[in-house]
Amino acid sequence: MEAGFNRQTRDNSVSDLAIIEAPPRAAEVDRGKVLGRMALFDFIFHNLTRASAVLVLLILGGVIFSLIYGSLPAIQAFGFGFLTTESWNPVTEKFGAVAPIYGTLVTSTIAMVIAVPLGLGIAIFLTELCPHALRRPIGVAIELLAGIPSIIYGIWGLFVLAPFLQQHVQPALISLTGDIPVLSSLFAGPPYGIGMLTAGFILAIMVLPFITSISRDVFDTVPPVLKEAASGVGCTTWEVMRYVVIPYTRVGVIGGVMLGLGRALGETMAVTFVIGNAHRVSSSLLAPGTTISATIANEFTEAVGDLYTSALIELGLILFVITFFVLAAARFMLMRIEQKSGA
């Protein structure tokens, strides 16, 4: 490719020179014209690219502005009470965001509890333990998992995972934890199948590839000399990971985890299928609940009345603000590890 590419560019530059230098006699005027045209095009192109960059900024600004604008009626009607009210009643037009926020946090927490150790384990496996021939296929397979659209996880969760959990896992959880004080209230109530635990599970599967691939990338930034030195003084593979690689890459790993968290918080379709859409705060993880994104997806097109719509948009605003800060923190941390590896 390199050779062909060089030839092509040379051909082109030559032909350009030919354009500029070809007419030797009526030259000066034409040449000035061509150069002028080029300069004009240069000017236009430069400004076009800059305008596009600014437009990307404006899109984000537009997102924030439109969300604030759309939620103004709800903000005026409920004020800060929106964040502390549990009731969500379209009939009396009383709306509060506590249940969706609670559901979002609980499902994301479940997802992170499962996905972080698992993702780190797979990343360690890929960088340290995996036979060389398998490294690429497994890496690709994990990344394919990231490419599957969320609606596929949703339909699979609804028809395959939820019935399985309902019949086999949840009854066992209920009877196992029945006598233990705190756990019994976490796993109380009938096994519905759908609910916050199932949603957390699906989210865990979805964010797993993100955490894995970022952890693997940051593990790769560790200078081999460090690992070799640790092995040289007799560390086991695990000790090399635990005391050299993970401390060295801590910021990057946390950044990757935050990025995964950002995904989990905002994930919509997969959760909507299995959460059960119940506006209440329940201490049991088996109970149906709702998340911010699931509420919007379920109710937005059916929302009648400006206040209802506006309350849903305000939910979107809250979600956006939360994910914005999580993602910003993640990017900041990943930037630090990039600088470290660049230096």
Partner: protein, 279 residues
């Protein structure tokens, strides 16, 4: 000696856990694809590609949904790609070290993983609420907004990989900067940029959340982009949650089609980019 053996035990245990974790992670992929093929292939008949989405209890296909998805994805990609490429070009070439670039890069990375449902709300407030009705154009716009950050990111990354001597050689021949970009830099970065566009298509073709309240859904054949347009992901969502067996079967089949399309796109993208790397 006991210290040594306990360290070794920890090592064996941790290693075993990593193995198990990996097998566990891969098992999901197998389980999901397995269920999808098993359930989806049963309903894969020619009618799926030739008939419209049926009312409850009747048989039918997914033709209008497939067509709607294709049209909206195409328009979205056509809108988002040029904008993304131009912005990426500015960041890598004209303003490589400028403040604007740093800000845009940061914002773009956030847009890249921002919840797509928020983009749907954005387009709803800006377009749907102003015009007064749902439309295919609004859906395409929402998808376009999702395409932009992916293309910006890959264009910038790929242009940054183009060696500077190439640019300098072009400049030494007297080429203006814009010509250098078109004739030299874009060509060198071509396979990378195409990869980015393919990944962007893969990402938006499965997107459901931003379409729910922009393009809505349409049970019939419609070529009017100013009216609600059906799309595969929204149909899957609606049909899967319905109580009708026929609809659920169509949802599985649709899910299989979307997954095949997305996986083909991402595998092609991967093959393209690794080809570029090897040579």
């Amino acid at each position: 000696m006991s210290l040594y053996s306990s360290r070794r035990r920890t090592n064996v245990l941790a290693t075993a856990l990593c193995w198990t974790g990996t097998i566990f992670g891969l098992a999901w992929l197998v389980l999901i694809l397995g269920a999808l093929i098993y359930e989806g292939a049963r309903g894969l008949t020619p009618a799926v590609f030739t008939e419209m989405t049926p009312p409850p209890g009747a048989t039918g296909g997914l033709l209008n949904a497939i067509a709607g998805s294709l049209v909206m994805t195409t328009i979205g990609v056509l809108l988002g790609t040029p904008l993304g490429m131009l912005a990426g070009t500015y960041m890598a070439e004209y303003g490589r070290y400028s403040k604007l670039t740093m800000v845009v890069r940061f914002i773009n990375d956030i847009l890249l993983s921002a919840p797509s449902i928020v983009v749907g709300l954005f387009v709803y407030t800006v377009v749907v609420a102003q015009v007064g009705h749902f439309s295919g154009i609004a859906g395409a716009l929402a998808l376009g907004v999702l395409v932009v950050p992916v293309v910006v990111r890959t264009t910038e990354d790929m242009l940054l990989l183009v060696p500077s001597p190439l640019r300098e050689a072009a400049a030494a021949l007297g080429l203006p900067r814009s010509h250098m970009l078109m004739r030299v830099a874009y060509r060198a970065a071509k396979s990378g940029i195409v990869t980015g566009v393919l990944l962007a298509i893969a990402r938006v073709s499965g997107e459901t959340a931003p379409l729910l309240f922009t393009s809505l859904n349409n049970q019939f054949w419609s070529t009017d982009l100013n009216a609600p347009v059906s799309s595969l992901p929204v149909v899957i969502f609606q049909f899967a949650l319905s109580p009708y067996k026929d609809w659920q079967q169509l949802a599985w089949t649709g899910a299989l089609l979307v997954t095949i399309a997305v996986l083909l796109l991402s595998i092609t993208a991967r093959a393209l980019s690794s080809q570029g790397k090897h040579k």
